[in-house]
Symmetry: C2
């Protein structure tokens, strides 16, 4: 019952109206070939894959789950064929390096496709996104030989990727990890240790699985500066570069999880496994972050995809389900009841999901555009904007993703709690996105400490300076100006307070991130109205924008007040009193 249809109308609107990519990309040599026709065709084809191939396996994959037997993992029925179709269609090489058979597509476009794949089947797409992440890491830090060996195989999906960071005692705190790497005579290394929570660490969808493993060399400094990164393939590449001898790594078990049950999460044992150093010794964490930053935006898109999927289910149900009567009199007098849609509180729920989803899509594309401008147009400011906004995208899109899934489930009433309709699965599936790739608390601290405090708020101010409320439709100018002022003042307060108080940033980080997210969403709503056509679609945009400004944006008032409180509010409780 979890039907999914890519929101093509909204995507076309955002691409060609809001972001005006036809003109914008004409100025970027690397994107000159991406014509409007080509882009629309890619969107259409991606939507087809998502809606017709991936989505039909979403509920069955959850129901069936993955099976572990003697170190081998079987994925749910149908995943193998669907993954092969995704791989052979080139969907894992979209943003890949053209020198190694990647397609060099703009990230802004990639965001839209990723959202679709996440929405359609997050468990299945996880096998893909880890693969894409691995290519980014190897492309950025690998040797030419490593790139030649691994990138084409990964881009084609014949091989897949996995990232092995977490150990049982070392999650967020990677500095205390224990996995060891010993140099071997041939220049390779021998990796020994146990990693947990390894998404796609073992499965049956590919010929080979390329693990990127963090480990310590002998005599490495303690903490995060003593961690190196290694490629540890399940099968060692033979002389032809094909999967050869089995390496000494194995899945010890898979986790029983709340959701994403079609995705296999392994405990991985590396037992003197052959590994190849990527980048410099002891600089593995920074190298891994290349991949993690990509993954963070991608995980944000998982939250967004869940919101869209949730909206589609709830809107359809609210249209079809007859229950109660409109307060203004029956709209459906010949039937026993009116559709749920007549009820203001049901509309509140649907409009909340929609307002957060459509603004979230514009926001994610904006972050993607900054990445593109930084990478392909040497726009240094855009690069800094992308760094500023990546933690916001990861945390805010996934926190709102859970909110939206829960609201959609609520629209279904009791039918939302039983497995049949699938909406409860959306809640279970999206919940992981707030946790993995750095918990949302870690994102908030990254945002406040590294992205705001470190440069005295300069990048954030530049971003806000670039968004001029005077350019917006008049009705939104005043509340937008007030919201920007609120965000600037709250940020100033935090910058003032952190000087004397090391706990201040962490104490209010989550609320400041939310304040920023809700404020920027208001900007995108007003902007969308500005460029909306004079038709039914445009009218919906205006209606949703009005809802956002009336009902959601006020949340920033409470958040701003909360951000301006002292850290003592959280720090004064004695540890032993918790």
């Amino acid at each position: 019952m979890l039907d999914y249809q890519a929101p093509e109308r909204d995507i076309e609107f955002l691409l060609f109206r809001l972001f005006d990519v036809s003109n914008r990309w004409a100025d970027i040599p690397a994107f000159a070939d991406f014509s409007a026709e080509l882009v629309s065709a890619v969107v259409r084809e991606g939507g087809r894959l998502a809606g017709e191939v991936m989505a039909p396996l979403n509920q069955s994959g959850d129901e069936e789950g993955c099976q572990w037997r003697d170190g081998e993992v079987t994925t749910p029925s149908g995943f193998k064929d669907a993954f092969a179709e995704m791989a052979s269609g080139g969907w894992l090489s979209l943003s890949g390096n053209p020198e190694y058979e990647g397609q060099g597509m703009p990230k802004l476009l990639g965001c839209l496709l990723e959202e679709m794949f996440w929405a359609a089947n997050s468990s299945l797409y996880l096998y893909g996104t880890l693969t894409v992440g691995a290519t980014l890491c190897i492309d950025a830090h690998g040797t030419d030989e490593q790139k030649t060996t691994y990138l084409p195989k990964l881009y084609s999906g014949r091989w897949t990727g996995a990232m092995a960071l977490t150990e049982a005692h070392a999650g967020t705190d990677l500095g205390i990890m224990r996995t060891k790497a010993e140099p071997a005579a041939d220049g390779s290394y021998r990796i020994t240790g146990t990693k947990i929570f390894i998404t796609s660490g073992e499965h049956d969808l590919a010929e080979n699985i390329v693990h990127l493993v963090l480990a310590r060399l002998p005599q490495a400094p303690a903490g995060t500066r003593g961690i190196s990164l290694f490629i540890v393939p399940k099968f060692l590449p033979d002389e032809e570069g094909e999967a050869g001898e089995r390496n000494a790594l194995a899945s010890g078990s898979i986790e029983h999880k709340m959701g994403i049950r079609g995705s296999a999460t392994s405990v991985m044992n590396y037992d003197d496994a052959v590994g190849y150093l990527v980048g410099e010794a002891d600089a593995g964490l920074a190298a891994m972050f290349t991949m993690m930053n990509y993954e963070r935006l991608s995980v944000g898109l998982q939250g967004l995809g869940a919101s869209e999927l949730a909206y589609q289910q709830a809107a359809r149900y609210a249209r079809d389900r007859l229950q109660g009567r409109a307060a203004t009199g029956p709209v459906n007098p010949d039937a026993a009841a009116d559709p749920l849609l007549v009820h203001p509180d049901v509309r509140r729920m649907l409009l909340t999901i929609r307002a957060l989803t459509e603004a979230g899509r514009a926001f994610a594309m904006f972050v993607g555009m900054q990445l593109d401008l930084g990478k392909y147009a040497d726009d240094e400011q855009a690069a800094r904007f992308s760094q500023l906004l990546t933690p916001v995208a990861k945390a805010f899109l996934t926190d709102r993703g859970l909110d939206c899934a829960v609201l959609a489930q609520q629209v279904f009433g009791g039918h939302g709690y039983v497995r049949e309709w699938g909406v409860e699965q959306i809640v279970r599936d999206v919940r992981i996105a707030q946790i993995y790739e750095g918990t949302n608390g870690v994102q908030a601290i990254d945002f406040v400490v590294r992205k705001i405090v470190r440069d005295g708020g300069e990048t954030l101010n530049q971003l806000l300076d670039s968004l001029d409320p005077k350019t917006l439709p008049e009705a939104y100018q005043r509340p937008m100006r007030a919201a920007f002022t609120r965000l600037r003042e709250a940020t100033r307060h935090v910058l003032g307070a952190v000087a004397d108080d090391p706990d201040q940033a962490g104490a209010v980080a989550t609320d400041l991130l939310d304040l920023c997210g809700y404020t920027l969403y208001a900007w995108f709503w007003a902007e969308m109205v500005r460029v909306s056509p004079e038709d039914d679609f445009g009218r919906s945009k205006r209606d949703t924008a009005d809802f956002y400004f009336a009902r959601i944006l006020p949340r920033t008032e409470g958040l701003a007040a909360s951000v301006c409180s002292d850290s003592s509010a959280v720090m004064q409780m004695r540890q032993e009193n918790f």
Copy 2:
């Protein structure tokens, strides 16, 4: 791993300090026998049952679930013995009518015990709470003969209760239900129809199951005024009043649910089943509401219990788990890392759970006290306060229950997403509490339309008049006064707007309910500080109150702004544009 310990210290504080029951109950003849010693003993014994008998079956019950075979339902291992212990201990008769072997205990005390049972094992307690609800309904509306036949059996837990309202097409909108009741020659009725989502409709824990079924008599008026209430026992009482001949009702299947998997939710088929009319013909919905109002407060306590359970898990994990270092320097220099508790954002999550849980407990007891005063002290105003606040208790305690469960899961990071630790189960289990017994949207509409608009806001104003900020510790007086003003003004705005706009109340109902909930919680925090002892416990109360005022109460600013928006924000979108 889902350990639970009843929060006895907080309970004693609330009973004897905040609500001063020793003095208060001395003035109520029905409660004169409930000495402090007796009350403490009941709390202790209830805590033992919850922590030692019910809690150990919580995770195993979820894992195993219920099994359906040919209409028979098997509950998870251990449930039978645990339920027998609960029943034989008299825990289902606490608030029961003493004339029929009930214990006539104050509801204020019953709230605390219910919270414990919900926290320890919500699936198992559901078999009990439906039973208690059935006794309330029969006690209020049954004949003497019905009371004599059913009440002692239900109080003792030898028989259990179930309420059969929902049909596949009729959930919130009970007026369109189709189940039929035909009069029989002997004065009984024959019930035919199919009901869904029937909690405890069939199981193996009791000798008999007493269904309270809503159905239509021939020629009954259409809509909610043509619904009658019937007792439909699984086994008809024989001449000795024991379970005799099998009645014509059966479980057609059980639901596969997101959570509360140890609770069996049946599709029930009534096929010319013998039923006995309860109360007047066509007045069944009002009679059922006696039970539903009780159940609504009880379901609120389910949300509260989940919050407490979640807090206990997260606090323990945050104390024990070593990860990262304090921003102010290592507190645990000899270990590899500091406990999670040093991190301000982790404290924010824990304090949020705690602030919402402890205020929620005080609030629920306050509602219980109003019920007691209304019922046993003829306090008409208290009775109206209890009616005003019941929907708030149901919706606000359960919405915050989900928030708290999600936050606790977040404290665990990846370990919160795997089944092993059990916190993901708390999220799945509590989610139903926002849906059943009237969705939280229905509660909000009840609150605004029936409890505020209908009397022009008089009861709410009386309640606020009775809460004088001048009596609070000084630091809280100003923000409390501001919060009350905000709530009063928002309410006034709604009362003004509803006159011309039938959609206004529904449009802002949820936000007004939340505004009321957060405002009252602030009152209880300040009150708790007022009566707190000068020790470590009292210090924790003050620290948590400070957190609440600094970080949670500001949410009311955004809610008040949202409540004061026009209904057009939700109504202007055309139906076809959703």
